[in-house]
């Protein structure tokens, strides 16, 4: 199918001798060029991405790894002092690092699990025939389109201790006001809420798209067998969505590991400390604090690499789980 274009031009004019020889050569050249074209142009088309990736992705990654092996301060970025794996080994007994890691996992779970469950439910509702369904579908995506900064600032006001809307509502219900920002768990829950609010709609739309490709006759036969809507959801929808759910799990896990903007802005006063007890300082925040507040670029680079390695482990676990799930059930 490929050489169609070539054949069109091959239509050799009836001529003789010299002219046809020249045509012959031209044709050969053309077809050589054409083969080269077929072979190499895809690479040329993808080259910009990989060039950019090499410059802005791979190089910084490697350079960060190099910097992590040195003592580098932002006050003199050009002066590096070789320290080997010291920046990594000190992470092992760095309480702030472990605290940040634990917070990242906690907040990650607190945000990812409800977020995906709610998204699944929302998608299920949106999948029904609704009046103005286009409106609702766009509406669930609006939080995702909001900037983190704007959303977080609003949430900071909602979670305010003295004049916050949530405490006001709690007061109406006769409950005590909660100091959201200073509590260990309350602050983590509050930060997770922002994440859930922002990403639920995005995941819901992904699920919805997947749901709409589930064959309708599956539902019809389930209905004929007397399955209720809930049973259809559990036994038809969810199993069909399995690859999609895995995809959103992976993406959300990566997002949760890199959580940065929400906790940073949740503390409008101090920035990167993540609360008075560092109670919601995530790895991203600790990395930022070391690099751009404390100006220790070497240590920050080591944290960055540690995060990268953690992500690789998480990715591997995800892949194993995915293989089990789809390998076990997918090839029926």
């Amino acid at each position: 199918m490929a050489p169609v274009a070539g054949e069109v031009s091959v239509a050799a004019p009836p001529g003789a001798g010299y002219a046809s020889l020249r045509d012959e050569r031209r044709r050969a050249r053309r077809s050589r060029r054409h083969r080269r074209d077929l072979r190499w142009s895809p690479y040329v088309f993808v080259a910009p991405f990989f060039t950019f990736f090499a410059v802005f992705g791979l190089f910084p990654l490697l350079y960060t790894g190099w910097a992590a092996l040195h003592r580098v301060e932002l006050t003199a970025p050009g002066r590096r002092e070789w320290v080997g794996l010291r920046n990594f080994s000190r992470l092992l007994d760095d309480d702030f690092f472990w605290n940040a890691l634990a917070n990242t996992v906690t907040i990650g779970l607190l945000s990812t699990v409800p977020q995906l469950l709610i998204a699944l439910g929302l998608a299920h509702l949106l999948d029904h025939r609704l009046r103005g369904s286009a409106f609702f579908r766009v509406a669930v995506l609006t939080p995702y389109a909001t900037s983190v900064a704007a959303a977080t600032l609003v949430f900071v006001l909602l979670f305010g201790r003295d004049h916050g809307l949530i405490n006001w509502a709690l007061g109406l219900a006769g409950l005590d006001a909660v100091d959201w920002q200073n509590g260990d768990w309350t602050s983590r829950i509050a930060v997770s809420t922002i994440v859930v609010w922002r990403w639920t709609g995005y995941n819901a739309l992904i699920y919805l798209a997947a749901m709409q490709s589930v064959p309708g006759d599956l539902y019809e036969s389930a209905a004929l067998d007397g399955a209720s809507r809930w049973q259809q959801f559990v036994h038809v929808t969810v199993p069909s969505l399995r690859p999609t759910i895995l995809f959103t799990c992976v993406v959300s896990t990566i997002g949760a590991t890199q959580l940065f903007g929400e906790p940073l802005l949740f503390n409008g006063g101090a920035g990167a400390t993540g609360g008075v007890n560092h109670q919601y300082q995530t790895l991203g925040l600790y990395l930022y604090e070391q690099g751009w507040v404390n100006l220790h670029l070497g240590r920050a680079s080591a944290i960055a690499w540690a995060m990268f390695l953690i992500l690789l482990v998480v990715g591997a676990v995800n892949w194993l789980v995915a293989r089990r799930l789809t390998g076990g059930g997918g090839e029926r």
Partner: protein
């Protein structure tokens, strides 16, 4: 970090400056005239600032260009110092991307003079700079051990106490600013005592002071020695003045005199709007902030009295990087911008208090009153404070230490009821990790 700096002075006008900065970045390749270079025969000088410095808004660049027709001045601005300063360091490190004149915040100036001296012009030797015009302590802050002055002082943050007359009256305290000043003159302990008197008859839902951290910043700001000793060694752990400031602030928290707020947060802003506290330690630059947040409802309710002891909080410097193509012209511009007359203009237009003591005698400063604060004679109050501020030893990591003491340590004592000792330990742990000791 923001709280110790001028980054908090974010105004609508600075957005214009930011937009200009972006235009410069985008148009850098074209002959946009944003880099230092000659366009239409004039030498273009760039000034890099954070927040809203007010040079542009007060029309100082315009005036300079009128006085020097061969010079064009452009400004680039980054809103917050915590974003501005790391960028300034990277640019100094790589020797590119620098403006001809750069602003430096006071809590960064010691680090800049200690680590970047080789990259900056000695402004003390610039013609037109009159050392005697500046406050000696301000001049000393940007001068290194070899006697090279790398930064010229712009504004400073002499401190007073802003208080609400209406709340004071209801609590049975004097309201006249001289009498209020006498209430606590000379001693932070008396400020605490006044707080206890206030609490005894306090209007419901109000506290005496906004935050324990604010008290601590004010107390440490009035001390000659805080985090570093004379030889530049970190001694915050054993410094008696720091421990005293810590104890005083913790006593405010323990006595229930604070509104348990954190400064420069939305909740703090709401505290101004809802009159949740009666006093706040206010450097000169904070007056505009209070007016902004307390709004029309606070008019004539707020007033300004002298602080227990004179102290300083905030202020900035201008430095000239050596890599610039027109360092001589840039130094002349920096000298002119920080000369007493221009500092007085900046005070009149923008409320930035001059670091040039020669400006205090000028009528715009000496006669200045603030209509929002009951026509308080702020020129006199702050000039008195400024003259008596001790020559403070600032160290390279002052900002880190102050920030962790207040936002990690004192904040949990104030807001969570952590014991002062535990709060101190938490702060020390965070500071030592940050300092890489």
């Amino acid at each position: 970090m923001r709280r110790l700096g001028k980054g908090i002075r974010i105004s609508r006008t600075s957005r214009r400056a930011a937009a200009l900065g972006i235009t410069c970045v985008l148009g850098a390749g074209a002959a946009a005239g944003c880099g230092s270079g000659a366009s239409d025969g004039r030498t273009t000088l760039t000034v890099g600032v954070f927040g809203s410095f007010g040079f542009e808004e007060a029309g100082l660049y315009e005036r300079y260009m009128t006085l020097h027709p061969d010079i064009a001045v452009r400004q680039t601005s980054i809103q917050r110092n915590e974003n501005y300063y790391p960028q300034l360091l990277t640019h100094l490190g790589s020797g590119s991307g620098l403006a001809d004149v750069q602003a430096v915040e006071v809590s960064n100036i010691a680090e800049v003079t200690a680590t970047q001296a080789g990259k900056l012009v000695d402004l003390g030797a610039t013609p037109g700079v009159d050392r005697g015009a500046f406050l000696p302590w301000k001049w000393a802050q940007a001068t290194d051990r070899d006697g090279r002055t790398l930064g010229l002082g712009t504004d400073i943050g002499p401190q007073a106490i802003c208080y609400r007359k209406d709340l004071f009256a209801r609590a049975g305290l004097p309201t006249d600013r001289a009498a209020v000043g006498r209430l606590w003159a000379g001693d932070w302990g008396k400020y605490l005592a006044a707080g206890k008197r206030y609490r005894a008859k306090a209007p419901r839902g109000t506290a005496f002071v906004d935050s324990a951290s604010g008290v601590m910043a004010a107390v440490t700001g009035s001390e000659r020695y805080r985090f570093y000793d004379r030889r530049g060694k970190v001694v915050y752990r054993t410094s008696t003045t720091v421990r005293n400031a810590w104890r005083t602030a913790a006593r405010f928290a323990a006595s229930g005199l604070t509104a348990k707020l954190q400064q420069f947060t939305p909740a703090w802003d709401q505290g101004f709007a809802n009159a949740s506290f009666a006093t706040v330690s206010c450097p000169a630059w904070m007056l505009g902030y209070i007016q902004d947040k307390a709004g029309a409802a606070g008019r004539d309710r707020w007033d300004v009295a002298a602080a227990p002891r004179p102290g300083n909080w905030g202020g900035s410097f201008l430095v000239v990087p050596r890599t610039g193509r027109h360092t001589k012209e840039a130094a002349a511009l920096a000298a002119w911008l920080t000369a007493p007359a221009q500092q007085a203009t900046l005070f009149a237009e923008r409320g930035s208090f001059p670091s040039a003591r020669a400006a205090y005698a000028l009528p715009v400063v000496s006669g200045a009153r603030h209509p929002y604060f009951g026509d308080a004679p702020i020129g006199r109050i702050f000039a008195d404070a400024a003259r008596n501020v001790p020559v403070q030893i600032v160290g390279p990591k002052d900002l880190l230490i102050a920030q962790n003491l207040s936002d990690v340590g004192m904040l949990q004592v104030d807001q969570k009821g952590t014991s002062p000792d535990d709060g101190w330990e938490a702060a020390v742990k965070a500071i030592d990790n940050a300092l890489d000791l």
